[in-house]
């Protein structure tokens, strides 16, 4: 029955062999262009092309397209072919369109009518051509044009099976672009009942459609569960001869079984005990069949059988309710782990990953640990090894962490480049998560750097430093270990960074041993210096200045290095600056000062809290972002006091005690006392930067001279008035970033961002020569509130304590989410909700600036809603932890009177008043 006619197309053959004989790309392009010109002229010229010629030209165009050349003509000819009476012409027209016409093409409008005609044809072959075309294009226009025809075709009793099948998938395709296309009501049950259709092909196609519908609306289609179970049961328990053509290599309807099992995974185990029992029986039978000897040696037989088996296993894992089946599934997968078929080993590893997360089977999975580790070592296929890594990661717990981490480290040495980075992260996570002994953790991370240094991201080595700094018990061990690691002739730059940091902090702990005496440590680090990038060198310079503090005996040696031309005159500005500043610091300061400046780093904040330290306030009518913290930030204010030679260390303290403006009932409650967890210097990632910042300040006097100290001089004590700041804070109502406070000594900048009820405010402190010190305040809006949180900054300036009483620019409106709505719903809400304020304009009443302020305030500006175009209306929602407060605003400027009328309505009365007060001050 050869389906292909005994002919070929001579012109096509000649063309293809011409292309094949082309010696160069240019020649090929030339030949193709010639052919394109030929076809174009044929299409344009005489209209007498016969079907054969049309087909030949379209085939040529398809070939050219396949070679990667654009086809920009022939579309109209293809469209005309659709309405041909000849089937062959119609077919080739559809083919051309399916390959070359995309969803956005203008041609689609032209073909809709032809498709409609074919859909109505009596010949199923024509109908199918039309359905295929619709499914191929699948655009919204298609959905609009055929949204009623296709569902009818699908359920009509007169439709032939072939067409029904195509209609189901065509409908699915359109459903993906336009969800409304599926009619509800009685259609639901008619679609579900396709699962009972006689024709297995129809059931398979319907199953795909129903699965997509179930994803969108599981409740409406839950009737499909019992039908699917009974259909499955008929297939699984039938002997394979019953299904005739749908038996594939002795496996009864494997495709449909897989589809049905997939469909059932969208639902929890059936509640009806009968249905549930039947399903479990099916699963049982499938598991039993897996143990039977194969009916054929062909790989197709085992593939089909196992496709069903894996799907059965995943539904067992999905329901996670039948311990008996779970254990059987696990054992079955265990067998596959050592199967000779690579595909099965791959799938077994992948599926076991899911099993490892179930409490019933986690232990059972762990039994296979050895096999999995073995797979990691012996599998030849990187895809399989990758799955083995995933599974090891999933099955890891406290009991086996050490072994698994060790094996992963071993594998890392030879691992494929493509998966190294992911493995490094996995190892780092496991080591931290399950570390009982932190010396082990340190070893693991250092090994990671040693083995796969290039793949160790910054987060990983930052983290090991954080942990070492925070845990006194490992500091000595870490110093010793990095020292040893650095002795390797070639070590990774990341190792130098970690080594530099740790020795700079804790080198003294191992200095007693003559083998790691200070000078040895220094020489060891410095031997790597010239091989490193500028960033690492900068870090090492900081280590060196710390060494001067830790080991005064090697001061002169270090000073020589700092003095060397390659540093002091380095082309890198950062290195040059560090070298010269550190040099001066070591020359001019007393050891006491040096010791204070270079004091050991305070512990880092625990990771979680630095990511999201949520400020809470337990109760009270008002809520605010209350922080009581004492962040000690080593800093130094520029100072040209007479005692310049003993440059002084200053501390910039920020402190925000609760304030009377905030009635906080549980003031003494310890929970509100230290929630921010910010008892450390700034963000972890700029350790080195903050060090520089410190030192730049210290040296401000050496470079800047005495110019800066003028008025707020040394003798003036006490609190600096906050009058300078009040104006600025108002501006923050309508913006998030800017300078909060500035005087001759200090500048305080604010950068803040908000999302729903959470916010983060960065506070930058600095004088004009320095890099700012940064403090991050995380906050959450619990309820609506009035007023602003206090920010009290104290520091020493020229031996005189200074204190600033400021406010953090956190007002209620920061937690706005703009809301869009139309006029109708705006005024409907308007009637319900009110706070009104009439006030005089303080500035010019320009449209642009009013708009900017309203947008900055955080609300959605709704245009074209108010009948009076002069007026402004806005809408937004304030997110707080406990509730969401809808707010509407209307601002009516009266230009003659230079007055505004501001009306705010909110679902909570107090909020409306707060907002009105806040905003009124802005105009």
């Amino acid at each position: 029955m050869p389906a292909v006619r005994g002919d070929g197309m001579r012109g096509l053959a000649v063309f293809i062999s011409d292309i094949r004989n082309c010696k160069s790309k240019e020649a090929e392009v030339k030949r193709i262009n010639k052919e394109l010109a030929n076809i174009r002229s044929k299409f344009k010229g005489d209209k007498t092309l016969d079907g054969y010629q049309k087909k030949k030209y379209v085939c040529k165009l398809l070939f050219i397209f396949l070679l990667g050349h654009d086809i920009d003509f022939g579309h109209m000819e293809a469209v005309n072919l659709l309405s041909s009476n000849k089937y062959t012409e119609k077919q080739i027209g559809y083919l051309f369109i399916s390959v070359l016409v995309n969803t956005n093409s203008d041609l689609i409008k032209l073909i809709v009518q032809s498709i409609k005609n074919d859909l109505g044809s009596r010949n199923p072959v024509h109908v199918n051509l039309a359905l295929q075309c619709i499914a191929n294009i699948g655009s919204k226009e298609m959905a609009d044009a055929f949204g009623t025809d296709i569902p009818k075709l699908l359920v009509s009793g007169e439709t032939m099976d072939v067409v029904k099948q195509s209609a189901a998938l065509c409908l699915l395709r359109l459903f993906r672009t336009t969800q409304e296309i599926i009619p509800g009501g009685e259609w639901t049950s008619r679609i579900i009942h396709l699962l009972n259709d006689q024709h297995m092909g129809v059931v398979t196609a319907a199953c795909s459609l129903i699965e997509a519908l179930v994803k969108k609306n599981p409740d409406e289609y839950k009737g499909c569960v019992s039908l699917a179970v009974s259909r499955l049961s008929r297939i699984v328990t039938a002997s394979y001869t019953d299904l005739q053509d749908y038996t594939y290599y002795f496996v009864p309807a494997p495709w449909l079984s897989v589809k049905l099992l997939r469909l059932l995974q969208h639902y929890p185990p059936p509640e009806d005990p009968g249905v549930r029992g039947r399903l479990n029986e099916c699963l049982d039978t499938i598991l039993n069949k897996a143990q039977e000897p194969p009916k054929s040696k062909k790989v197709q037989h085992s593939n089909a059988k196992n496709a069903v088996l894996f799907e059965a296993i995943s539904i067992i894992i999905h329901s996670d309710s039948e311990p008996n089946l779970l254990v059987r599934a696990c054992n079955q997968l265990g067998q596959f782990l050592s199967h000779r078929e690579t595909n099965l080993r791959y799938l077994a590893l992948e599926t076991m990953c899911l099993l490892a997360t179930s409490e019933f089977s986690h232990e059972a999975v762990k039994k296979h640990q050895e096999t999995v580790i073995n797979a990691l070592k012996t599998e030849r296929d990187v895809s399989v090894r990758q799955r083995a890594v995933d599974l090891l990661y999933a099955m890891c717990d406290r009991s086996n962490a050490e072994e698994i981490v060790q094996e992963m480290l071993n594998y890392l040495e030879t691992a494929d480049y493509s998966i190294r980075e992911e493995m490094v992260l996995k190892v780092a996570i496991l080591a931290e998560k399950y570390a009982q002994d932190y010396t082990w953790y340190v070893d693991v991370i250092l090994n990671l750097i040693r083995i796969a240094g290039d793949y160790v991201s910054e987060e990983v080595w930052y983290r090991v430093i954080q942990i070492v700094v925070n845990r006194e018990d490992v500091q000595g061990y870490a110093a010793k270990t990095v020292f040893e690691a650095l002795q390797a002739p070639a070590c990774h730059e990341n190792m130098v960074k970690v080594g530099g940091y740790i020795l700079g902090e804790f080198g003294n702990l191992i200095a007693g041993d003559s083998r790691s005496a200070p000078v040895v440590q220094f020489q060891l680090l410095h031997s790597k210096y010239h091989l490193c990038s500028a960033a690492t060198r900068a870090l090492l310079l900081t280590t060196y200045i710390k060494f001067i503090n830790l080991f005064p005996e090697i001061k002169s040696q270090i000073q020589d290095v700092l003095k060397s031309n390659s540093n002091l005159r380095s082309s890198d500005a950062e290195l040059q600056q560090r070298a010269s500043e550190y040099l001066h610091l070591s020359v001019t300061t007393t050891t006491d000062v040096l010791a204070t400046v270079l004091e050991e780093m305070p512990p880092f904040t625990e990771k979680e809290s630095s990511i999201l330290a949520v400020l809470k306030k337990k109760s009270g009518r008002m809520s605010a972002q209350e922080a009581q913290r004492e962040a000690r930030v080593q800093a130094r204010e520029g100072n040209a006091a007479p005692a310049a030679e003993k440059a002084q260390n200053a501390q910039l303290k920020t402190k925000s005690p609760s304030n009377a403006a905030f009635p906080i009932p549980q003031l003494n409650n310890s929970t509100s006392a230290d929630l921010l967890g910010l008892s450390t210097p700034p963000a972890t990632q700029n350790n080195t930067q903050s060090n520089t910042g410190v030192l730049v300040d210290v040296l401000g006097d050496l470079y800047g001279g005495g110019g800066t100290n003028t008025h707020n001089g040394t003798s003036a004590p006490a609190t600096i008035s906050m009058s300078g700041a009040t104006d600025n804070i108002k501006k923050f109502v309508c913006k998030n970033n800017g300078v909060l406070y500035e005087n001759d000594i200090i500048q305080i900048g604010i950068k803040s961002e908000f999302r729903q009820n959470l916010g983060r405010v960065g506070v930058f402190y600095g004088n004009k020569t320095s890099m700012p010190l940064q403090q991050l305040v995380n906050c959450e809006c619990v309820e609506d509130f009035n007023g602003l949180p206090d920010l009290s900054v104290s520091f020493t300036y020229g031996n005189v304590p200074q204190r600033l009483a400021l406010h953090l620019p956190l007002s209620c409106n920061k937690f706005f989410e703009p809301t869009d709505m139309n006029g109708e719903s705006f005024f409907a809400r308007w009637k319900n909700l009110k706070a009104q304020k009439i006030f005089k304009a303080t500035g010019p009443m320009e449209n642009a600036s009013i708009k900017t302020k309203l947008l900055g305030f955080g609300m959605q500006l709704l245009e074209g809603i108010d009948p009076n175009p002069e007026n402004y209306v806005c809408a937004a929602i304030i997110h707080t932890r406990t509730q969401q407060i809808g707010c509407l605003l209307r601002l009516e400027p009266n230009r003659q009177a230079e007055m505004y009328r501001l009306t705010i309505r909110a679902s909570k009365e107090s909020t409306a008043q707060i907002l009105a007060d806040l905003l009124a001050e802005q105009f």
Binding site: G8, F63, L66, Y248, W255
Partner: protein
Amino acid sequence: MIKAILVFNNHGKPRLTKFYQYFNEEMQQQIIKETFQLVSKRDDNVCNFLEGGSLIGGADYKLIYRHYATLYFVFCVDSSESELGILDLIQVFVETLDKCFENVCELDLIFHVDKVHYILNELVMGGMVLETNMTEIITRIEDQNKLEKQEGPYNSASPSSLRAGLAAAPARAVSAVKSMNLPQQIKDIKLPDLPAAIKDLKF
């Protein structure tokens, strides 16, 4: 869902491409190139699944492929498809091609690209499996052939002249006239290796 079906030869020349999600022409060519690079460097006895390339959806997608003699058949699918099921589908596709062309080879795919598309349309529609029963598929292709025959032969090219046009191709490669007596059992097909002369030709 199947996102794309790609067939290319051992040198990466595309022989059939079908995308069920829209990509512009340039992107299509890049995807073919990337997929070829991913697939061709793998040994023959490793597993048939790998994570999708960066262009076609990254780790959420899998490439499931089979290598037959000179051709790679690659299906790019999302996680809702059964891997082994897709392998079966590739097998059904190839067996169907083999039945329709009798000992299908790369040249059949080149010269009968239309036919190959029609066969594929009977298997997959809009990215979903339409029919897996080979008998059923072949019946439908035969129905189409009957319609074609009724409309009468309009071609002027005879098999012999075709062969003349392709002087280098042995008769078997473009087996134009097929015997009516097909062996009944389905062979575990190995596509015939073409003589070296053909293999080295570039397309």
